[in-house]
């Protein structure tokens, strides 16, 4: 029998989607993949295909227009999957809270496993969040 869960932890691929953030967290996610922080040593690879992803990195307070796209992407990722909300506005709405086109955080739509705070989240925090996500992924 294949021990999928054991191997899953060794190469978790991430899918990144921006639901209306200011770009700050997105460039920090990009910085995480760069040599200084180097998430790839944990086996993490950035993918564009939801069907190959294990960890879903979401940034942004969820604008109305991104609503359906986020739901589609979430449902296309195969189980087991972990959702990491990166940034203050992704967790609660942050500075964008109660603006007319915003849903105050993504947990109003999809279940979130790890909340990463900060505006913008520093790469250290994002990596910490992904390491936590790996533990959750193993237990799922």
């Amino acid at each position: 029998m294949l021990h999928i869960k054991r191997f899953l932890k060794k190469s978790p691929w991430v899918l990144h989607y921006n639901t209306g953030s200011c770009n700050g967290c997105d460039i920090e996610i990009l910085a995480c993949l760069s040599p200084r922080y180097d998430l790839e040593r944990l086996g993490v690879l950035n993918t564009g295909n939801p069907k190959q992803a294990d960890i879903f990195l979401v940034t942004g307070p969820l604008t109305h227009r991104c609503h359906d796209r986020l739901l589609q992407l979430y449902s296309q990722i195969p189980d087991p999957k972990v959702v990491v909300a990166v940034g203050s506005c992704t967790c609660t709405g942050g500075v964008f809270k109660d603006m007319y086109n915003v849903n105050n955080g993504i947990d109003s739509l999809i279940p979130v496993d790890v909340y990463v705070p900060g505006c913008a989240s520093s790469p250290e925090l994002i990596m910490d969040g992904i390491v936590k996500a790996l533990e959750i992924l193993e237990g799922k």
């Binding site: 989607y17 921006n18 639901t19 209306g20 953030s21 200011c22 770009n23 700050g24 967290c25 997105d26 460039i27 920090e28 990009l30 910085a31 993949l33 760069s34 040599p35 200084r36 950035n46 993918t47 564009g48 295909n49 939801p50 942004g60 307070p61 604008t63 227009r65 991104c66 796209r69 992407l73 506005c89 500075v95 964008f96 109660d98 603006m99 007319y100 086109n101 915003v102 505006c119 913008a120 520093s122 790469p123």
Partner: protein, 361 residues
């Protein structure tokens, strides 16, 4: 018989940082028409600035329009409100503000170059440039306390002074970066994968730059001398060694080179500022509430940024209008896409350095 096929790019795609949707109509390999949709990240910041936040808070809210040119947004707003409130800042404040604006420009340009390299399939170059970029991020973190959203500028001055250690770190890192940029200029002029392949690809002519309202590096790469830093004297750019950098052909190759040379110029400006910084107050006290209107123009990493403010003597502003560079450049982008190969589309897109958060607000 040619048949038109439609290929979508986005709103979620590996080469995109932000959601934007393009629909390319292609005949064989050539793009014939482009349909675009840029409104995915619209949050309603302009409205919130007049209804939810007081004028003292708005500077920090407009920073969240865009993470890459956050300081430019705060800066443009602050200059506008200072004009209404009639606040005169001293030389030291002006210099510190230019210092952060230029550091921001360096990291934004480096990110754009890295992204262009990645989208043209040169992953190693992406890693190298992102590694070099950390030198600037370190300076920004040391000076302001945060890597990306540094709320450094406030009404009447700046929030933090530069310590001697920061200054030392900045000098070392800038000198290191200067050498690395020289090396990068060599690679971006001689290497096949990043440079020579992209000669005459995605070109915008000198006349089209004016016809389609191109701004920033997109216009300057085509030889059009459009730069607010040279046109306006709202910040003392001429004193710190600003130099206009122009390209010739307006293709991806030239855009990359213009960005690299601008980084060199920005490094020089930062070094000039740091070596000539005097002692002085970093915050000017002010009284009263804003009453009147102002127009502000400022050069963001991507081109001209425009703020219109209208206040009526209360804590709430009447109107905040933000016009961002990417928004004005969209007609030019569409023109460049027409006639290009579809395979080049991601690289062309990255070389525009589009910022959708700015565009949609």
């Amino acid at each position: 018989m040619k048949k038109t096929i439609t290929i979508p790019l986005g709103s979620q795609h590996i080469s995109l940082l932000e959601p934007v949707r393009f629909n390319f109509s292609c005949e064989n390999e050539k793009i014939t028409d482009v349909d675009y949709n840029v409104g995915f990240v619209h949050r309603g910041i302009e409205k919130a600035c007049t209804e939810k936040f007081e004028y003292k808070q708005v500077g920090y809210v407009v920073a969240r329009v865009c993470g890459l040119c956050a300081i430019t947004h705060t800066m443009a707003y602050t200059l506008g409100i200072e004009h209404i409130l009639n606040i005169k800042t001293n030389k030291k404040i002006d210099y510190l503000r230019i210092l952060m604006l230029e550091l921001d420009r360096i990291h934004s340009h480096l990110l754009c170059l890295a992204h262009t390299a990645e989208n043209s399939g040169f992953e190693g170059m992406f890693m190298k440039i992102m590694g070099d970029r950390e030198l600037v991020m370190d300076i920004q973190e040391a000076i302001s306390g945060n890597r990306v959203q540094f709320d450094f500028v406030c009404i009447g001055g700046v929030n933090r002074d530069i310590s001697t250690e920061c200054e030392k770190l900045a000098f070392t890192n800038l000198a290191l970066l200067d050498k690395k940029v020289d090396d990068l200029i060599g690679k971006f002029t001689s290497n096949w994968s990043t440079a020579l392949k992209y000669k005459n690809i995605g070109a915008l002519s000198y006349d089209d730059a004016f016809n389609f309202n191109a701004l920033g590096p997109l216009a300057r790469a085509a030889g059009a001398a459009i730069d607010v830093r040279a046109e306006s004297s709202i910040l003392p750019y001429k004193e710190v060694g600003y130099k206009m950098i122009l390209g010739q052909n307006g293709d991806i190759y030239d855009r990359n080179l213009v960005r690299l040379k601008e980084i060199k110029n920005s490094i020089l400006m930062c070094q000039n500022i740091l070596s000539g910084l005097t002692e002085g107050e970093i915050l000017v006290k002010f009284k009263g509430k804003p009453n009147g209107e102002s127009f502000t123009r400022l050069e963001a990493p991507r081109g001209e940024i425009f703020y219109y403010l209208n206040a009526n003597g209360t804590n709430m502003l009447q109107r905040v209008r933000i016009k961002t560079p990417t928004f004005s450049q969209i007609p030019g982008m569409v023109e460049i896409f027409k006639g290009s190969d579809y395979a080049d589309a991601p690289a062309i897109l990255a070389s525009f350095d589009p910022c959708m958060s700015c565009t949609a607000k």
